[in-house]
């Protein structure tokens, strides 16, 4: 029983990291209808920003944290301007966006390797590594912090999207960009805004990831998992991304804890595919019959 509870805690904490990353994918997807594969690169740079602010410039933690988030916000917007806007202007099919995103992620990763170098960087210890202990269960301090930060960020995001005027504009654009534009919504601004919000979340995710694990140029590869989680939850749906992430985290944990760690990914992928076959739009995706 203790082990099961411990595994659930492990799963939740893995899931909450996936969730922070997945929400960024989903947010951009809901507006642009393509998977922004460069999101992983932005997360990685966010982690590096955090590292430099904290370890090199010795900023106080809160400053470094927000600095990193702002840094990746700027970066995400820049990325949109350079790699996606020209495509958007031409109504290019989603394939081109994806390739452009891939190019961007290759570029970002190798740029970091060429300039900063491939070595792993370690965040200075902000929180004690000593875990909380409840009975025989161990809960990491950092995990608790990540869990709370994710929850707060996601709650703020939901508030922003659901209850503010700008949020309404975002939802309208997500629903139908052309009509929204006709209704006087500046879709270009909305897209910038969405990338900015996505970038901000990426920065937060990057710093937390860096604190929990470490910083290295290939963090982007980890984010594939969060992308899978987003698809699983239903692309374009924020609650879907969160739920998908938590389920994926728990699934992975339970499979390696009780079944086979060798075949973990195989089993979790197969399960995901089965679920997608049964429900092709993901868990929380909006059902839609194609309009004719």
């Amino acid at each position: 029983m203790t082990q099961f509870l411990q595994q659930m805690i492990n799963g939740l904490s893995i899931g909450s990291v996936y969730a922070l990353m997945a929400v960024g994918y989903s947010l951009v997807y809901s507006i642009m209808n393509f998977s922004n594969f460069a999101h992983g690169g932005v997360i990685m740079l966010g982690a590096y920003f955090g590292f430099y602010f904290l370890a090199v410039f010795k900023w106080p933690f809160a400053f470094a944290f927000f600095g990193a988030a702002l840094g990746s916000t700027v970066l995400a917007v820049l990325l949109e301007r350079v790699a996606y806007k020209p495509l958007r202007m031409r109504n290019a099919p989603f394939l081109y966006f994806i390739i452009s995103a891939m190019g961007a992620s290759i570029l970002i990763e190798n740029f970091v390797i060429a300039t900063i170098g491939p070595t792993f960087k370690t965040y200075p210890q902000v929180l004690s590594r000593e875990p909380f202990q409840i009975a025989a269960l161990f809960i990491g301090r950092l995990d608790t912090m990540i869990f709370i930060t994710s929850a707060v960020c996601l709650a703020l995001l939901v508030y922003f999207i659901d209850f503010t005027k700008v949020g309404k504009a975002i939802r309208a654009t997500a629903f139908n960009a052309r009509v929204s534009a006709l209704m006087g919504i500046n879709t270009d601004m909305i897209i910038i805004l969405v990338f900015a919000v996505g970038g901000f979340l990426a920065g937060v995710a990057g710093v937390l990831f860096g604190m929990k694990y470490t910083v290295y140029p290939q963090i982007g590869a980890v984010t594939i998992k969060s992308f899978i989680a987003a698809v699983f939850g239903g692309l374009g749906s924020l609650p879907g991304a969160v739920i998908g992430s938590v389920i994926l985290g728990l699934l992975e944990t339970l499979i390696s804890g009780y079944f086979s760690s060798q075949f973990r990914d195989l089993i979790s992928f197969s399960l995901l595919i089965i679920i997608l076959v049964l429900r092709p739009i993901g868990l929380m995706g909006k059902p839609s019959e194609e309009k004719a």
């Binding site: 495509l87 081109y96 452009s100 961007a104 692309l235 195989l266 992928f269 197969s270 595919i273």
Partner: protein
């Protein structure tokens, strides 16, 4: 440049080209995006090597058998996932590619992650070229028949394709099957060229690379794929002198081509003999290349 080295690049381009031709049918002509093609290459590689080494069959038979095994497995995958839309299909193929690798990592008969050395080396430039010529000829015949046109119709407008009586699911299956066979043969070439197989060789980077080549060469163009495979295999080689910066340059090149010439090098056009004649002065410039 030294011929021995150039020969190596040409062989490698040829191997890539085989996989790219297949993916070009799936992505370029049918409009389906796969992130798991390296998985089919892996299946083909191991199957072809197994058949060649254990049954002592000649090269061409082993390669075709490898391709066929990849094709048959693709039918199972397709049956499950081809009904999924856009990014959901992407994710399913991505999951499949990773899953195949994980299985191979664990199959100790083939050496697991440690790899399988000692496969006889049977590939030289001449047989790669012959196999590729056959592959190109087959592909051109296919896309210029009603079957190819039906696939293009699916890419252009799936709903309309259905209403003119095209069994879109069936044609997606044919397209996936054919492209998996090509990828499988390409995988077989890898094994017989390097004499060594390791699941690591067929990671997501490989799948991404293939997709980038297809798009770079131009959607819906066989000659574009040929050109793309030759150029993009050679490009990193030419950039070798720049060491760390070459992949940065590669990323920039990919973004640049997407935003400045998104239709790829050939943009749905084909180089034909007639076209070449016209280009050198026997016709007006509009008919330089033929529409497919």
């Amino acid at each position: 440049m030294d011929w021995f080295y150039v020969k190596g690049i040409l062989i490698l381009s040829g191997i890539n080209l085989m996989a790219v031709l297949g993916l070009s049918l799936l992505t370029g002509f049918t409009g389906l995006f796969s992130f798991g093609h390296a998985g089919f290459m892996a299946i083909g590689a191991y199957a072809a090597a197994f058949i060649g080494v254990n049954l002592g069959l000649p090269l061409i038979v082993s390669l075709l058998a490898g391709g066929l095994v990849a094709g048959i497995i693709s039918l199972f995958i397709g049956r499950l996932t081809l009904k999924l839309k856009g990014d959901y299909f992407c994710i399913a193929t991505l999951g499949f590619g990773e899953a195949i690798r994980l299985v191979l990592d664990n199959v100790q008969v083939f050496g697991g992650a440690r790899g399988w050395p000692g496969i006889p080396i049977r590939i030289d430039l001449w047989n790669v070229v012959l196999i590729n010529l056959a592959g190109i000829a087959f592909m051109i015949s296919l896309v210029n028949s009603r079957h190819g046109r039906n696939m293009i119709a699916i890419r252009e407008e799936e709903l309309a394709a259905k209403t003119i009586g095209i069994d879109t699911f069936k044609y997606k299956m044919i397209s996936l099957f054919t492209s998996a066979v090509y990828a499988g043969i390409a995988g077989g070439l890898v094994g017989y060229y390097t004499g060594f197989l390791q699941p690591k060789m067929f990671g997501m980077t490989k799948s991404t690379e293939l997709t980038i080549i297809v798009i770079f060469g131009g959607i819906g163009s066989v000659s574009g794929s040929v050109l793309g495979a030759l150029l993009l295999t050679a490009l990193p080689e030419l950039l070798r002198a720049f060491a760390l910066w070459r992949l940065v340059a590669y990323g920039v090149a990919v973004i640049f081509i997407m935003i400045s010439r998104p239709e790829g090098l050939m943009g749905g056009k084909e180089i034909t003999f007639k076209g070449i004649l016209r280009a050198i002065g026997f016709g007006h410039k509009h008919s330089k290349a033929r529409e497919v």
